[in-house]
Symmetry: C2
Subunit: 191 residues, 2 copies
């Protein structure tokens, strides 16, 4: 089973790449350091992924596969599943850090992950709108529509991640996210 061995290697490499990118970002990551983690030389790594960018693409594709296999765009999430996702993320700083670092880099000119994130966020917003519609129908507090609230929901998740990564002790990410959901439910009204 040469094939299987090869696939396993590739998976190992992707895992290592995830780690290294989390630690140093894509630009700061080196092929050598990824290779070292899998017990290969840089040249050995290039046998599997011919360029650094190809490796990044593979990482992003795996992310996509992971997201969608979680059921994200098959039949969509529900709000309480989003809550669980945030809780899950709070235990997986590594992955969060990888993609937060990549998102940050991706806004720079000509970054290889830029297109990926642009498309991804369009999709995520559409998804969030569905989730919100499922939960609230057409009308949300503040006179918002699901489409108008979707970018906010997305923004809160991302923004909280940065604050949490910078200072995990100072920010209760899942708690804050629940707070936001409470805000959406409009429960309690005012003072």
């Amino acid at each position: 089973m040469v094939r299987a061995r090869s696939e396993e290697r590739r998976a190992d490499i992707l895992r290592a790449a995830l780690e290294v990118i989390a630690e140093r970002g894509y630009r700061g990551a080196t092929l050598g350091s990824v290779a070292e983690r899998v017990g290969l030389t840089q040249q050995g790594l290039l046998h599997y992924y011919p360029t650094k960018e190809a490796l990044l693409v593979a990482v992003l594709e795996e992310r996509d596969r992971w997201d969608t296999s979680g059921g994200r765009d098959r039949e969509g999430w529900r709000l309480d599943l989003l809550e669980s996702l945030v809780e899950y993320n709070a235990m997986r700083a590594g992955i969060v850090q990888t993609f937060s670092a990549l998102l940050g880099e991706s806004v720079t000119d000509g970054h290889p992950a830029r297109e990926f994130f642009t498309e991804r966020y369009a999709q995520v917003r559409a998804n969030m709108a569905d989730v919100l519609r499922l939960e609230f129908g057409e009308r949300l507090p503040g006179g918002l529509t699901p489409e108008r609230a979707a970018p906010l929901l997305t923004a809160v998740m991302d923004g909280l991640q940065y604050q949490w990564l910078l200072d995990p002790a100072a920010v209760d990410m899942p708690g804050a996210f629940r707070d936001f959901l409470r805000l959406l439910h409009g429960s309690g009204g005012r003072g």
Copy 2:
């Protein structure tokens, strides 16, 4: 007026550094490209800022000066001033991009801007809490306190910036921010 000339140069360099960091992030930025933009050689630049990190520090310090001169922590903002800030940012993609890129990088291990952002966000949250307290008193919709809502307000601003930078046409940043404020005001209730 040699002094003045020198200060002017430094200001030019900082401006150029802002630009280059926006385009390529800190790690991707090179001293040479910053220098070129001011009409200097790389070594000429090093005359003013002896290391790359010193240049970054200067950039961050200038940001701090800019923020605080705007009145941020002197006597604090009010919510409607935050709204104007977001509108202002929407016309200054360059600066937003610079600091979004830096924020993203800063979550990676040992990044020179990490401490800056960590402290900064603690301060920003405290500030936001003040703003919210001024506007709402102790009780916000959803039973939130100003302290609990502050990370959310912060997260929304940052998160929207990323979405907007990735696809300005798809996200109306100031509009979305106003939506969030409406949510905070709890106006409209449900249905």
